[in-house]
């Protein structure tokens, strides 16, 4: 179909060229003038007539071909249309374009800065070692989210035995996804939603609060009444990214819980950096990711 069209187009172009040459010849002959000898007028006229006939033939050939051609849309960029705008001097298009151009430059510059700042921070969900290792790992599909419920049950019951002060109860209020409810000493309660063994969300509340809706179902969304636990929720959610490891989901969950266990001293441990308990009426809500030492949110950033 497309080939046909192209063929017809080339044909049309060649026919147009032919028509052009024949017309040019007629006119050039006419402009050059004829050398007419006596009694030869008729021959000269014949020549002219022949030339005109060729023009006519070529023209009718082209005319026959034209109805078969589809009109071709020339999709020009919008800026190309500026040229055919008769009053383009009066439209603000030029200044707008320069403005947009400036902004694009600015965005580009800022994006450069941002990427320079972000690249040293390793907040990636995947840990990639050396180059060959990374290639090898990329081929494996992550399966952390697709672990069968029995596997999850086994893993959790193994984890549960590790801490005596951190009972874990597992329930499945909405089908396949496991929901862990953790009571950490007498300090706080946490609710962890898992997909397979991948941590989907964590909510931390006070020891005196519970995770039940007024209808008695498990409440996956509401936040704590107390500001300090909402801060802890944010911190812990950020830390799940650090602990996430798609290839070794059980290990990642386990190391997360080991780290999370350090929150039992939320109210009793002073900040490791400034040695005080309170900073702006908040206890040290952050636990260092590797050493699990308590720090204030403010001290962490310095």
């Amino acid at each position: 179909m497309a080939d046909n069209e192209v063929e017809r187009l080339t044909q049309a172009i060649s026919l147009t060229q032919k028509l052009r040459t024949s017309v040019t010849r007629v006119f050039s002959d006419l402009s050059d003038g004829y050398h007419i000898s006596q009694g030869n007028e008729k021959a000269s006229l014949n020549v002219l007539q022949k030339a005109l006939l060729t023009v006519n033939d070529n023209y009718s050939d082209l005319e026959k071909l034209v109805p078969n051609l589809n009109s071709v849309n020339i999709t020009a960029p919008n800026s190309a249309l500026v040229g055919i705008d008769p009053v383009y001097d009066k439209t603000p298009i030029y200044s707008q374009i320069t403005h947009a151009h400036k902004w694009t430059n600015k965005v580009h510059k800022l994006a450069d800065y941002a990427s320079a700042i972000l690249s040293p921070n390793q907040l990636k969900r995947t840990h990639q070692g050396g180059q060959p290792l990374a290639i090898k790992r990329q081929r494996k599909t992550p399966h952390a989210h697709a672990i069968p419920p029995q596997g999850v049950d086994q893993c959790i019951s193994a984890l549960e035995r590790l801490w005596s002060d951190m009972p874990i109860t597992l329930s499945r209020p909405m089908g396949n996804c496991a929901v862990l409810q953790i009571t950490l000493s007498r300090t706080l309660r946490a609710l962890i939603v898992l997909r397979g063994l991948l941590i989907e969300s964590v909510i931390v509340k006070a020891y005196s609060e519970d995770f039940l809706t007024p209808e008695g179902k498990v409440d996956l969304w509401s936040r704590s009444r107390y500001q300090v636990f909402n801060k802890v929720t944010d911190m812990v959610t950020a830390a799940t990214l650090h602990f996430c490891h798609p290839q070794m989901p059980d290990l990642s969950l386990r190391s997360f819980l080991v780290w999370f266990n350090s929150y039992k001293t939320l109210f009793s441990a002073p900040c490791q950096k400034c040695g005080k308990h309170l900073q702006g009426a908040f206890p040290p809500v952050w636990r260092e990711l590797r050493t699990a030492t308590p720090q204030h949110d403010g001290c962490r950033q310095t």
């Binding site: 006070a206 020891y207 300090v228 109210f267 009793s268 009426a281």
Partner: protein
């Protein structure tokens, strides 16, 4: 549900009136960034069993605006009964003489004492500055600091000490004597009431005429 509460009596310096102390404390609350969240009141009335009974016993009835629907009854032994507000009505009928008999309890005259004042919130802390009055006579200032997220006094004592010391000074170097015995157990509203009662009893004993009408 509530957090851990520490109640301290504020030492009123010589030559200052109670109102001046309360004003300066309220100013201090503004400076540390606490927001006013209304008023509070803790009141206490004392009843005595009728003399005809062999053993004379007294019972303290307390109300706390933090638990507005609850009535706390405390015996001298320290036993606390936490009940509904309706208990007040029962107490009423028990004090009334009926069909020739006198009531089981008598209200002790001149023993109604209360702490009343502003309530402040600072993040998860609730701070209350109350001026104590016994029969409309000013007796002193009580400061209550509550840390709501925790329920174990032993866990959060050091943390509360920091904020308490900034308000009441060195008095807060050690926990209130009542809390000392409860460091490792879960805190309940009844523990707050016991602390208040301890302070109220102390204030009643210091009923010297020189301190009145300050």
């Amino acid at each position: 549900m509530m957090g851990v509460v520490c109640v301290y009596a504020y030492n009123i310096p010589e030559g200052k009136s109670g109102q001046q102390v309360v004003d300066s404390l309220q100013k201090q609350m503004d400076i540390i960034g606490a927001t006013k969240t209304g008023n509070f009141c803790v009141d206490c009335e004392t009843y005595q069993s009728h003399p005809q009974n062999a053993q004379q016993r007294s019972i303290h009835i307390l109300h706390n605006s933090e638990q507005p629907a609850t009535c706390f009854s405390v015996l001298d032994s320290g036993t606390v009964l936490v009940s509904d507000m309706l208990f007040d009505l029962i107490m009423n009928t028990m004090t009334q003489a009926k069909s020739g008999r006198e009531g089981f309890f008598q209200q002790r005259k001149g023993f109604k004492i209360e702490s009343r004042g502003q309530r402040y919130e600072l993040a998860d802390f609730v701070i209350k500055i109350g001026s104590v009055s016994l029969m409309a006579n000013f007796k002193g200032v009580l400061i209550e600091v509550e840390y709501c997220p925790s329920q174990v006094p032993g866990d959060c004592w050091n943390l509360m000490k920091e904020i308490l010391q900034s308000i009441v000074g060195n008095t807060a170097d050690t926990p209130p004597s009542y809390i000392k015995t409860k460091m490792d157990s879960l805190y309940t509203p009844a523990d707050t009431i016991n602390q208040y009662l301890e302070h109220f009893n102390a204030f009643r004993k210091t009923a010297t005429p020189g301190q009145q009408n300050r």
